[in-house]
Symmetry: C2
Subunit: 109 residues, 2 copies
DNA sequence: GAATCAAGTTTCCAATTGGGTACTACGTTA
DNA sequence: TAACGTAGTACCCAATTGGAAACTTGATTC
């Protein structure tokens, strides 16, 4: 607990997973790459996610400054989610993942 | 269930997560990038993982052909885990993750 | 005056994940 | 003959995750 090198020893892959790990975050961010989305639009495009999960994940992504949440004061409510500049730094990871997933699906069923 | 386009519609990021998602798999694979490792060696290098979890994750990675498990018939037992050629195709994703994690740690605490 | 809409929140319950501990195999070393 | 070491398994229990459904808000439409 007293060394200078604690941070140096942390695995960078673990660091990444601590921010965008879990079942949903990378998928949500990938949806936002193609542009700003509203809440229901996101939910419809991620078929298995519940409102609760989507809300939770969006809150955490916002807290970590990866996305920006914009509330329009109108009824019915309108809330938009946008990748932040910082969120966009995650683009290379998402592209690598998308590329691998695409090829993997070709290879396997 | 009868369309031609089911697979086309699957999100490639989701495909990737279905294979290497979860809390441990990417970390384990990243350890193997630097070379073949034995079971206990892996466990020691991933401080929070239990034997049970490590066993489970290694079995699944082996089932999906990302790693190769080699058992030496000797006592005490010796089992080695190695990235397969196919597992190595995941390298770009891991590198992108490691790079992002490294920069993210600089930026944040 | 009832229904509708978007974007949630709340509550409760089920399933999955994960941890602790003990146990195993068996040849070698003390 | 007792202990050691590696690579696990087996079993049980606790914690966390995740899902379903009902409820909320307030202006607008039927």
């Amino acid at each position: 607990m007293s060394g200078l090198d604690e941070n140096v020893l942390v695995c960078p892959v673990e660091t990444t997973l601590s921010v965008v790990g879990g079942k949903w975050k990378a998928i949500i961010l990938w949806r936002l790459v193609s542009g700003t989305k509203r809440f229901n639009e996101l939910q419809r495009s991620i078929s298995q996610i519940t409102r609760k999960m989507l809300t939770e994940q969006l809150r955490e992504l916002e807290r970590d400054n990866l996305i920006i949440r914009t509330v329009y004061q109108q009824v019915p409510p309108k809330v938009e989610y946008t990748l932040s500049d910082y969120g966009r730094t995650f683009l290379p990871v998402m592209q690598a993942m998308a590329q691998w997933g695409f090829v993997h699906r070709e290879r396997n069923g």
